[in-house]
């Protein structure tokens, strides 16, 4: 069984927000919903040694997802391949998962009343395709793949580069990894 993960190479990300737009288009999101924003840290430092980092944020598809534990209706689920998703018809919009997620990755759709989130484009992944944000990133700052496959680029990056996980101290075991410069 695969264990999907995403690596963000912040050295490559230029903060163009193409991934954000692509995600919204693919998922037909209302105007007030974003699954994957790109934040900017900086500029920091003192001239001429300045730096600025763009941080693409998504659902971290945690191995120990607090959102799944918090969901009273079993709408929030984690597949065996690690993808965390919301089964829309079961969601009652109680926001328990929204409050439980330390990454702010979940958002209520005010038209449907349900909570939605990034699901790694599981419909595309099941067909052997890449998530739409990864496909769209022209800087190749996003890398998606199977972390259990030693030949995958994701495996090589996670095990070869100095990657970090956001809020790792909370013990949620996020499966989104970041490479800093």
């Amino acid at each position: 069984m695969a264990r999907y993960a995403m690596v963000f190479d912040t050295r490559r990300c230029i903060g163009c927000h193409s991934c954000t737009v692509a995600c919204r288009t693919k998922n037909e999101l209302p105007i007030d919903m974003i699954y994957n924003p790109v934040t900017t840290v900086g500029p920091t430092g003192v001239y001429p040694k300045l730096s600025m980092v763009h941080m693409p944020l998504i659902c971290m598809h945690c191995d120990n997802p607090p959102c799944v534990d918090a969901c009273p209706t079993c709408a929030s689920q984690r597949r065996d391949d690690g993808i965390v998703f919301v089964e829309d018809k079961k969601c009652v919009g109680c926001l328990a998962c929204v409050m439980a997620c330390p990454y702010g990755a979940r958002v209520k759709n005010h038209e449907s009343g349900a909570v939605q989130k990034c699901d790694f484009c599981k419909d595309r992944v099941d067909e052997g395709l890449l998530p739409f944000c990864v496909l769209t990133c022209h800087q190749k700052a996003r890398v998606f793949g199977d972390l259990d496959d030693e030949t995958s680029e994701v495996y090589k990056l996670v095990n070869g580069e100095r990657t970090v996980r956001l809020l790792a101290e909370l013990g949620t075991e996020p499966y989104a990894f970041y490479i800093y410069g």
Binding site: I31, M33, Y35, P66, P72, M99, G104, V107, T172
Partner: protein
């Protein structure tokens, strides 16, 4: 990731207030019945305990994005909300059935063993209902104001103190049949619990300010010197805690009633403050506060034009 920061609203805060108070009212009624000889609190108190919990549940349903599917919250036994929903439902039933024992028209009103068993059930379920909102909030790792076991103590104490206040008021409206001197001690117990609540809040804020993370300190400062400071200091601490602590100790029913009402006001303010101040804060990711500060709020001209399409 939403453009706005989504969170629970006032209906959940009121649900926590009603559920905590109602659950603890049943605990007090049950304990009085079980351990105070022939002691029975006013039937109005056990009825109101169940009714408050039912009202809280109703508000919780309206808070849902899809209220007509609220039955689904009973489906995941691993989720604390599911446990809370089940136990609250059972406590409501227990409270209503227990109330019927106060009326001779019901043929089972003199079934002593059954009444005692229901009283035990009421104590257990009421205690869980009074406690679980604190556990629910304390488990949320990304919410710096809430995270940790302290919230459980604060909620349980507030639930008990508001329940004693509600019992005092209920006893003034419908006098209990057999509780005797015990009801007379409720104001003193309320005062002790108010003192404990004051001490717990001081220590909780102290721990958060000097606590594990900077995010916790920021969240605590929001209550102490930020946008919620006036409500916290004057609403919860002064009007909802210190003032009623003095009033309930005055041996005048009028002052005690006024003190009891202020305790209820304090309990309500506590829930609102905790939900709004805690829900507004998360342990932010790098660059996130700046990113969110630049997002539209929905009242901009272009957003209105878009939404009116």
């Amino acid at each position: 990731m939403s453009q706005k920061h989504e969170g629970w609203g006032w209906m959940l805060a009121v649900d926590f207030f009603f559920a905590g108070m109602g659950g603890a009212m049943l605990v007090i009624a049950g304990i009085a019945d079980l351990f105070v000889g022939e002691g029975r609190t006013s039937w109005l108190a056990s009825f109101l305990g169940a009714a408050f919990m039912a009202m809280g549940s109703g508000l919780l349903i309206f808070e849902l994005g899809r209220p007509f599917q609220s039955w689904r919250v009973f489906m995941n036994p691993k989720a604390i909300l599911t446990v809370g929903a089940w136990v609250m439902s059972l406590a409501i039933c227990a409270g209503l059935v227990y109330t019927t024992f106060s009326f001779a028209i019901f043929p089972w009103s003199d079934w002593l063993i059954v009444r005692k068993l229901i009283a035990i059930f009421m104590v257990v379920t009421g205690l869980i209902v009074a406690t679980y909102p604190g556990v629910l909030l304390g488990r949320l790792k990304g919410r710096p104001l809430w995270v940790g076991p302290g919230m459980t103590s604060l909620f349980l104490t507030s639930s008990l103190v508001t329940a004693f206040a509600a019992h005092i008021l209920s006893g003034m409206i419908v006098a209990p049949a057999t509780i005797g001197d015990v009801l007379g001690r409720f104001p003193a117990i309320t005062a002790v619990l108010l003192a404990v609540q004051l001490l717990l809040w001081v220590s909780y804020m102290w721990v958060k300010i000097s606590g594990a993370t900077e995010a916790e300190a920021v969240a605590a400062r929001r209550l102490l010197c930020g946008e919620y400071a006036a409500s916290f200091k004057y609403g919860l601490m002064l009007v909802g805690t210190v003032l009623p602590l003095v009033l309930v100790l005055v041996s005048s029913p009028l002052y005690q009633a006024l003190g009891a009402v202020l305790v209820l006001v304090g309990g309500f303010i506590l829930r609102m403050l905790v939900i709004y101040a805690g829900g507004a804060d998360r342990t932010w990711l790098p660059g996130e506060p700046k990113y969110r500060s630049r997002l539209p709020h929905g009242d901009e001209a272009f957003m209105k034009a878009w939404n009116s399409k």
